[in-house]
């Protein structure tokens, strides 16, 4: 068992591999972040559309009430 604070040594070849892997990991993390951002945008877009549907439905309901009243209160 190693003690805390003891230095760690890595072989040079392995060290290069580790650096390469870390580069790849960073790239992948960036990629994942971009995709997640896009998913969030799509989610917001979908929610906005659903909100629009809700507003439209409310408008149509109001208009229908008006038409209903007009038809049941004839002039002649």
């Amino acid at each position: 068992m190693e003690e805390e604070g003891m230095p760690v040594f890595i072989k040079v070849e392995e060290y290069k591999d580790v650096l390469d892997i870390i580069d790849l990991l960073q790239e992948k993390v960036k990629e994942a972040r971009a995709v997640l951002q896009k998913i969030n945008e799509l989610k917001s877009e979908e929610e906005a559309e659903l909100e629009l549907w809700n507003n439209t439905l409310n408008d149509v309901e109001t208009r229908l009430d008006f038409i209903d009243k007009s038809l049941f209160e004839p002039k002649y």
Binding site: E14, V18, K28, A32, K38, I67, L71
Partner: protein
Amino acid sequence: MKKKIVQKNKKAVKKELEKKIRKVVPVVEVKNLPKFAPRQQPRPEINTEEFFVGLHNSMDVRRNMLESSRDMIHTLQSYQKVNEVREEKIKRVEQFKTIMEELKLLVNKLNKALPKVQVKEVELRAKEAFEKISRKETKVEVPRDSSGKSDLEKLEAELAKIEGRLSKF
């Protein structure tokens, strides 16, 4: 004498006029017709299509109807858009899953490349994180492979393995 001659002439003129009228408008004589004849056929039903109701604000009614139709069409167009957005979202989620799998492989590779050292703090944090994740139970139907294990079960097994390794330190 003169009066008689005038009266005769008047009568002759009247007769001639009657004859002329008869020629133009013949008189139809209807015999034995009761004064108030009973109705032979039942009264026909009122055709409602022939009745009209005047509206106070017909222009507003018409405008409201047209606007409602327009909104409905917009909603249907929006429905198409939402479908496209959902499809795009599914694709992106799949892409995200692929990236996370790649990340997992790379982390494993990094783990193998690094020397085996004991880093207590990091491991303790990781353990706590794993415990948090394992507490969250989700009841979702997941597809299973030929071995009968789902992806979720595989991940849970992997997680348990890592936790076991951590507990050794």
